[in-house]
Symmetry: C2
C-alpha cells in the first residue's frame, strides 16, 4: 500500500460469503486504491464486521460520515445488519432501499438483495452487478445470464428485474469434480471442446438422464480410457445441459447477455450459441463496482 493515501470521497464494498473487496473511491468514480481479503461472511462472527472493515481502512485518512456502500452477504440475516430483500418485479435496489446506520466516522449503506416468492429464489450481490450492467445499457431488454457457483438467469425489462432463477450448476461441478468418486477421472484443468459439444447435445435431448450419466464418466475412464480433459468437459456439459433444458423459457427466442469471460462463462456462451440463441458476452471489468458507483451517484445526485 502507499504510505500517502489520498482521502477518498467514499468507500465501495463487495462483501460476499468467501471474500471482502474494498475500493477507495473519489466522487468522479475513480479508484484510488483497492484491497481484498478472505474475511467473507462465512468466517465472521456477529459483531466482527465493523472491526474487520476498519482494519482494512486503518491507513485511510479519516472523514466525518465517509459514505460506505456495501453489497452482498453482509446484508443477510447472518451478516453485519440485515437489509431486507426487495421483491421482483423491481429495479436493482439503490441507496433509498439500503439499510443505513452511522458508526464512528462511517455512514454505512447496505444494499438489499432481491427475492422472488414463486418459484422461491433469492440473490444478494448479483443485483448490484445487474445495476452496473443497466448503468451502462439502461434500455436493455432481454435475459442476463450470470455464471458462477450459483448461476442466475434474469429477465430484464424496462429497467426492472422481472423474474429470475438460480441453478447450483457451478457448485455441483466443483463438488463432483473435486470431492466425488469422479475426481479421479476429471483431475485436470484442460478442456476438450468436442467432448463438451457432444455431451451438451446429448443432455439437452435427454435431460432426465443426468443422474445416470454421471457415474458413466468414471466407468468410461476405467473401461474405455476416457481422457481427463474429455471427462471434465463432459461433466460440465452434463450439468450445463441439464440447466439449459430447465431454463429454456429464459433463453429460447431471447436476447441473452452472458456476464463475464471466465472459462465457465465461455462454456455458457458456446452452449447457447450452439442452440442458435442470439447471445453476446459482456466483457465487463467489474460490474459490481459499477453498480456500487451507480448507488453512490443516487446518494449524491450524480457524478461530480
Amino acid at each position: 500500500m502507499n504510505d500517502t493515501i489520498s482521502k477518498p470521497d467514499w468507500i465501495a464494498v463487495d462483501w460476499g460469503t468467501t471474500h471482502l473487496r474494498v475500493w477507495l473511491m473519489d466522487n468522479r468514480g475513480e479508484v484510488l486504491d483497492h484491497r481484498c481479503s478472505d474475511q467473507g461472511m462465512g468466517v465472521l462472527a456477529r459483531g466482527t464486521f465493523e472491526p474487520t472493515l476498519r482494519a482494512m481502512l486503518s491507513d485511510v485518512p479519516g472523514a466525518k460520515a465517509l459514505p460506505v456502500i456495501i453489497c452482498g452477504m453482509a446484508g443477510s440475516r447472518q451478516g453485519w445488519a440485515e437489509a431486507p430483500y426487495a421483491s421482483v418485479p423491481c429495479p436493482p435496489p439503490g441507496v433509498a432501499q439500503a439499510t443505513r446506520f452511522q458508526v464512528d466516522g462511517l455512514a454505512v449503506h447496505i444494499l438489499p438483495g432481491i427475492k422472488q416468492d414463486t418459484p422461491a429464489d433469492v440473490m444478494r450481490g448479483e443485483e448490484t452487478q445487474i445495476a452496473g450492467f443497466l448503468a451502462r445499457e439502461p434500455t436493455f431488454d432481454g435475459i442476463l445470464c450470470l455464471p458462477g457457483s450459483h448461476t442466475k438467469w434474469v429477465h430484464i425489462s424496462a429497467g426492472e428485474i422481472v423474474s429470475f432463477r438460480t441453478y447450483m450448476t457451478g457448485e455441483m461441478f466443483a463438488l463432483l469434480g473435486k470431492q466425488s468418486v469422479l475426481r479421479h477421472s476429471v483431475d485436470t484443468t484442460e478442456w476438450d471442446q468436442t467432448a463438451f459439444d457432444a455431451g451438451l447435445s446429448d443432455t439437452l435431448s435427454r435431460p432426465a438422464d443426468l443422474a445416470a450419466k454421471l457415474f458413466s464418466l468414471r466407468a468410461e475412464a476405467l473401461l474405455h480410457d476416457l481422457s481427463a480433459p474429455a471427462a471434465r468437459a463432459r461433466l460440465s456439459a452434463l450439468l450445463i445441459g441439464a440447466e439449459l433444458a430447465s431454463a429454456k423459457p429464459y433463453w429460447l427466442g431471447q436476447q441473452v447477455v452472458v456476464i463475464g469471460t471466465t472459462q465457465l462463462a465461455n462454456a455458457y456462451h458456446g452452449a447457447l450459441a450452439q442452440q442458435g440463441v442470439a447471445v453476446r458476452s459482456a466483457d465487463v471489468g467489474d460490474l459490481t463496482l459499477e453498480g456500487l458507483t451507480a448507488a453512490f451517484h443516487h446518494l449524491t445526485g450524480g457524478p461530480k
Copy 2:
C-alpha cells in the same frame, strides 16, 4: 477380542474404499469372530495390503494355506492385486474367476468385479452381495435395487446379471447436504415423509427440473420457513425422483427387491411402492458375507 481364538477354516474379507471387514469362519459357515477397521483402499499405499490384513489376523492361530476370500476394491487396479472385471451377462464371479496367489500361510482369492461396456458401468463388491442373494433365492428373476452411495439397479435372469446401471444419488445427497450452500437448510437427521412424497411426485413428472429445484430448497428456507426435516426429505426426493425417472426401464412392470433396510433403502422402497411397483425389501443381514461363503463353498465343493 478373545484370547483363545478357535482356529478358523477360512477368512472372509470385504475390502472397500473406506472400510476393511474381516470374518474368521469355520467350514460350516459359522462366524468365529469379526473385526473391522477404516483401512480401506482409499488410505492404503501399494504394498501395504498384505501387512494390513496380517495385522488384523495377528492373534489368529496359523495354518498352512488358510483360504482367504476377498471382494471389493482390493481387486481394483489400485488395490492389492487386480482381479479383472467379468463382463455382463454373467453369473456373479466365483473363485474360479478369482485372482489367486499364495503369501506365507495364506491362499488369497480376490473376486472380480463386473463391467458393462454399453452403457459403460462397473461394480466391485455389489456382485458379491448379489451372489449372497442368489444363494438364498437361486431362481429369482427380476430387478435388484442396491441403495448406497452409488445405487445399482441390476437385472437378474436365470442366475445371471444381465445388465445394470449405477446412480450417484447417495453421494450427491451427502455432498449437497453436507458441503453445499444447502447444508444450512437440511441440517437435521429428521425426516418429513409428506415432504418426500410430494417432492417425489413432482420430480418424477418433471425430472429435467432437478437442477432448478435444488437452490429453491435454500430460498424456501429463507423466505417461507421450510423446515429442515422437510428440506432434507425433499432434497432426497429430488435426487431419488430424478433417478427413478431415468431408471424407469428397470422397474416399470418388474418385480423389484430393494436390498437393505436403511433409511435410504426404505426411501427407495416407499418411492417404488408409491409408483405401484411390486416391490419388497430383503432384510438380509450381511449379504456380502453370504456371497463370500458361497464362493468358499465353490472352492471346497460345498458346506461340510
